[in-house]
């Protein structure tokens, strides 16, 4: 039960959930939530592989950095969102279509 497959399936589900959020949601902050989900899926994979396949702690290091960088990215992303909100007074993603060919 506690096997690689279980973790992989969980991460797979996380990934799918994250992608769903990113595509279905129209709220920009919600989309950022999706990003976090995806990153977590990847990080979980690293940890799972380390545990079950190769015991290479590099995987943990990867996960750690993913967590850290995700935080940084979230910070910058949110800052941009807020700036966007201040300018456009909306956080609806479909309002961000000023730039198109």
């Amino acid at each position: 039960m506690i096997s690689l497959n279980g973790y992989l399936i969980i991460s797979f589900c996380l990934f799918l959930a994250g992608m769903t959020v990113m595509i279905a949601r129209k709220n920009i902050i919600a989309i950022l939530l999706g990003v976090e989900l995806i990153l977590n899926a990847a990080a979980l994979n690293f940890a799972a592989y380390t545990r079950f396949v190769n015991q290479n702690l590099d995987g943990h290091v990867m996960s750690l950095f993913i967590i850290v960088i995700a935080a940084a990215e979230a910070a910058v992303g949110l800052a941009i969102v807020i700036r966007f909100f201040q300018i456009k007074e909306t956080i609806h993603i479909d309002d961000a279509t000023e730039l198109q060919s």
């Binding site: 589900c13 996380l14 999706g34 396949v53 935080a71 969102v81 807020i82 609806h92």
Partner: protein, 176 residues
Amino acid sequence: MFLKIMFVLSALLTLGGAFLTASSKNLMHACVYLLACLFGVAGLYATLGADFLAAAQLVVYAGGVVILMLFAIMLTGGVQEFVNKFGLDKTPSMGSGKTYTIAGLSMIVTAFIVMKILAPVFKTPAQTDLPAFTSTVEKLGVLLVTDHVLAFEISSILLLGALVGAAVISRPRRGK
């Protein structure tokens, strides 16, 4: 056994949190569900013997990112015409049936892609003799100042840059 219960609980927490994050109609709720999900992932880390990771997950994500998100949600709730008092118009901006349909279809495709990766992995026989849990903190610490010292150090640049960047962006325009 404890491990199994913990795994099941964490898994349920993770998956449930993820599902609810994806489906909740309220952004604030979604954010909280995400928190639950991240807790679950931390639990999963714990079941994998990645104690340091679990801790970091809790600290950085639960303590940092999600709180940041919540602040952001609050900050963007200022305009009444569009949104309710939390700044969240429940239905339109959280996605509609149409968008979920599209997302669902996309997910089928995505699942296909990922399954292409996973299927052979699933087929490989599981390793039976897993090593016993040991604390990874020490090893990780050693790794971080030996093998991955550069990554450890240079990520400061990233963080510094992110800091500056976030500051630049959110700083109101001078002279106004």
